[in-house]
Each structure stands twice: as C-alpha cells, then as structure tokens.
C-alpha cells in the first residue's frame, strides 16, 4: 500500500529514481504516488528529465575519422 512520503524524502530519492536506481517496487510506488499528488515535485522531475536529455544531446560527441584511423592502426599492431 502506498503512502505519501513528503517532498523532503522525495527529493532524497530524486536522482536514484531518474537514473533507474530505485529497485525496490514499494519505494518506486511511494515515489510515484507522491509525484501524482505534488505539482512541485512532478514539475521538478520533468525539468530534470529535460535537463538530462539536453545534456546527453550536447555532451555526446562522435569521434573523428582521424581518431578512428589512429586507433585502428594501434589495433593492427596487436
């Protein structure tokens, strides 16, 4: 049975929840129950998700052709 954990406990679990690190079904249910009843925490989670997405989009880089060739040459010598 779920119960409201309050904002302070929800904030403690924020990143663990977002990062898929809350593995106890009861903890997940309690957290999501709180999100369903707290506009502030719900908005924060949405903001954090958007921030994560933006960070992934900006910080992921493709390696250059020169680097791939260089690494390929290193591996050719193995």
């Amino acid at each position: 049975m779920t119960h409201d954990i309050g904002c302070m406990r929800a904030i403690e679990a924020f990143y663990a929840y977002l990062d898929g690190e809350l593995d106890d079904p009861e903890s997940i249910a309690d957290f999501e129950h709180h999100l369903g009843h707290c506009r502030s925490c719900f908005s924060r989670i949405e903001m954090e998700k958007a921030l994560n997405e933006r960070m992934r989009k900006n910080a992921r880089r493709e390696s250059s052709e020169a680097l791939r060739e260089r690494v390929g040459k290193i591996m050719d010598k193995f």
């Binding site: 924020f14 990143y15 898929g20 900006n58 992921r60 880089r61 020169a66 591996m75």
Partner: protein, 197 residues
Amino acid sequence: MTDERTKAFFGTGVEVNIDALYSVALRLTRREADAEDLVAESVAKAWSAIGTLDDRERFRPWLFRILHNTFISDYRKHAVRPDEASYSDGDCEDDELATLLNEQSDDFLVWWANPEREFFNNLLGESLLAALDKLPEAYRTVVVLVNVEGFTYDETAEVLGVAPGTVRSRMKRGRTLLQKALWQQRPDSTKGANNDS
C-alpha cells in the same frame, strides 16, 4: 589468451564504445587533442591488460576504468581547469544538500518554465557544457558517466574504484551544483524579479 577471437572481441568492443570513450575523455581533459591522445593511449593500455578482464560482460566498465586511470596518471595535471574554484567542493551533509536542492530548484523551475525559453535554447546548450566543465572533476565524471553515457551506479563505482554509495552522493551534489551553475550564468534578460542567490 590473446588469440584471434580475443582480438576480434576487443576490436568490436572498442569500435562500439569509441564515441563514448571520446565523449568522456573530452569532458575529462576539456581539450580535443588531449581527448584523442587519451583515447588512443587507453586503447593500447587496455589491450596490454586484456588478461585482467575476468568477465567479458564487464568489458565496458573495465575499458572506461582504464581510460579514467590513464587520465589520472598521465593527463590530470595538464588538464584545462576553467574556474573550478567558483563551485565549492567542500563537504555537504545530505540534509544540507536536500535543502539546497529544494530551495534552488524553485528558482530554477521558474526560470526553466519561462515562456521565452525557446529564445535562449541554443545558448543553453553551450551554457550547459560550460557549467558541466566547471564542475569539480569528481562530480563531473560521475554526471557524465551516468547521465550522458548511461552507466549504472554500480558500473560507475567500478570505473572510479569507489563505493556505489559514493556515486549516489556525488550524483546528487553534482546535479545540484550543475543547476546552481546554470542558474548563476542564465542570461541577464531572464533574471527579472527572481533573487540571484
């Protein structure tokens, strides 16, 4: 052990991870040429150490651990350090952290929800990387591994050689510092009536 099948396994593993290796190396060194050198050196070291890989399922964290260790031993002292001191790296108890996150996020949320957000979306991309690069290394590395490259807390702990609980606390503090940095460097036109604390 270093037979053709091992070479093929290693080659595929490097190929699959080379963009991620470069992305992490770039956030560690903050200089493209150094990031490429770091990746190349790490791949060579990894092959030399292939005999230490006990479980092939753990190839990815094992490979990134070599990258991280190589950064520490050969690159850290030369790494670009943009104004890290402006973000306190001191001890922070969990309850203090929760309070900081709670108070700061309210202001951040108002800013994030600003109807003019689209206007500075492009700038935010640059601001985000600048803020990320200014995080103290311990937090920056955890945020990049977890949020950008999708490592679990256990894998990140394996890469860094720390306890999973340390990863969890560094994530909370790193993300809080990142928001604080974004909040502090937001465009002047959006500061309005909000307090800049």
